[in-house]
Amino acid sequence: MERDDLIEYSLPQEGKVGLHNEEEGLKIRKKIYKVTVLLTAVTIVEVFLGAVIKQDAAIWPFVKWLFVALTLLKAGYIVIIFMHLGDERPWLRYVILVPYFIFILYLIFIALVEAIHIKEVLSLFY
């Protein structure tokens, strides 16, 4: 059988991904630089907050969730723009992302619940 990666480029649809000309390239690069600035800014904000706000401060729980949200924002930009997942077919997107929404969210939930329980049990002995 012929190898499809040798015989044809796989993503010609709607001119989104695949070969493009100089003009489209310019646009794409502009987008890439925009995302770069955004990711850097988010990292700077995170480090600033992490260094300034102590973990026993009253505002800390809010900052903690802000960190999680910013991380998901960064991850989203990396996956959608840098890895071009936003330009792929919807079903490929679902195949890649749905496992996390099902399994990992559940795993996080169950691990944290279990950790609280184990902490309680251990505190009876120590």
Binding site: M1, R3, D4, D5, L6, I7, Y9, S10, L11, Q13, V17, G18, L19, H20, G25, I28, R29, I32, V35, T36, L39, T43, I44, E46, V47, G50, A51, Q55, D56, K64, F67, V68, L70, T71, K74, A75, I78, V79, I81, F82, M83, H84, E88, R89, W91, L92, I96, P99, Y100, F103, I104, L107, I108, A111, L112, A115, I116, I118, K119, L122
Partner: protein, 343 residues
């Protein structure tokens, strides 16, 4: 009838040529590999979260543990990891620019940006090596167990050890000799083994010496475990000033073994619970291994670009596939950065 079905087979049915996802086989398999690899990292980070949730108070805090910069000493919370994160983000950007150049069939552009990516990757691996070195060697003060059984980490500026003056000769050193080499190393070894008592250090060759040491500045104890007297709760966990100095030196000069721990290994570490260092080594090590293999793959693909293999093929999809892997490495670091260093 027969000829009709043959026509159907060739023209309208999927014969393995065009993927239903409209991606090539190689790219789809790279995605599937990344999905499984991401599940591995998710498992590791969830395990980390589990353990951390389990021993909440004694767990080290990122900004207290990672606050050093090369050549500049400490007092720079999180700046070094921030720099590492920035390097990795930039190398991710150069990689996506290489992919973009590939879409324009711009061979020189691809080579330029791929080399930039490889350099960024080496910088990151090198930074991680420094961080491991620093983590393993630990701080100048170490973690100390105070007289009441409470455990504290120590911050501040360690006054330099000027020399040891031998007062009782051993196998190596003679009485009256002034030792000026390897001071810090000998001091930490002796302190950890309980060989310093009342300001007199017993060196490895059996000789005894007095320590001449400059004064420490801003010595601060941060309690990680409560003892009989000192509690590691919100309002009392930080001890500063003269009291901190007295407590610290009475502990390490007590002449008892394991009162102070310097650095980290798989059995003990100065930062927090034993699992902390194990998770640090495993998660950052596993990620660092991914970065390293990513750099190697990038070099191989870059050589392919230089030799013109992909240009002849008519597309630079191989660059795109390594690009996917490289962005994934960056993606994992974004999560490690948050959950290991920030939170």
């Amino acid at each position: 009838m027969g000829s009709h079905s043959i026509q159907l087979d060739r023209k309208t049915l999927w014969g393995g040529k065009i993927s239903p996802f409209q991606v090539s086989y190689g790219k789809m398999m790279m995605w599937f590999f990344l999905v499984s690899d991401a599940l591995t990292f998710s498992g590791l980070l969830v395990a980390y979260g589990f353990t951390r949730h389990d021993c909440l108070e004694s767990w080290p805090i990122g900004e207290e543990t990672f606050n050093s910069l090369p050549f500049l000493g400490h007092g720079f919370p999180l700046l070094y990891v921030a720099l590492m994160t920035f390097i990795l983000i930039v190398s991710s950007v150069t990689m996506v620019l290489a992919v973009e150049a590939g879409h324009r069939m711009d061979k020189r552009g691809v080579i330029k940006w791929m080399i930039a990516t490889i350099i960024g990757g080496f910088f990151f691996v090198g930074s991680q090596a420094w961080e491991w070195y620093h983590f393993i060697h630990g701080s100048e003060f170490g973690k100390v167990e105070l007289a009441d059984g409470s455990v504290a980490i120590v911050k501040g500026h360690f006054g330099e050890i000027e020399n040891f003056t031998v007062i009782e000769g051993g196998r190596h050193h003679k009485k009256g000799e002034v030792i000026k080499e390897d001071l810090m190393h000998s001091f930490q070894h002796a302190a950890a083994d309980g060989h310093i008592k009342n300001g007199i250090i017993t060196l490895e060759d059996g000789s005894k010496a007095t320590i001449s040491k400059a004064k420490d500045h801003e010595l601060t104890l941060i309690l990680k475990k409560s003892g009989k007297q000192f509690k590691s709760d919100k309002n009392h966990r930080v001890i500063t000033g003269k009291k901190a100095e007295e407590l610290y030196y009475s502990a390490i000069y007590a002449g008892e073994e394991n009162r102070v721990i310097y650095g980290a290994n798989l059995k003990q570490n100065e930062y927090g619970p034993q699992q902390y260092a194990q998770f640090f080594f495993f998660i950052t090590g596993f990620h660092g291994f991914h970065v390293f293999s990513g750099v190697v793959i990038n070099i191989m693909i870059c050589l392919g670009v230089v030799s013109g293999t992909y240009h002849k093929r008519g597309h630079y999809e191989m660059v795109e596939k390594t690009g996917l892997y490289w962005h994934f490495v960056d993606l994992v670091w974004v999560f490690v950065f948050t959950f290991f260093y920030l939170i």
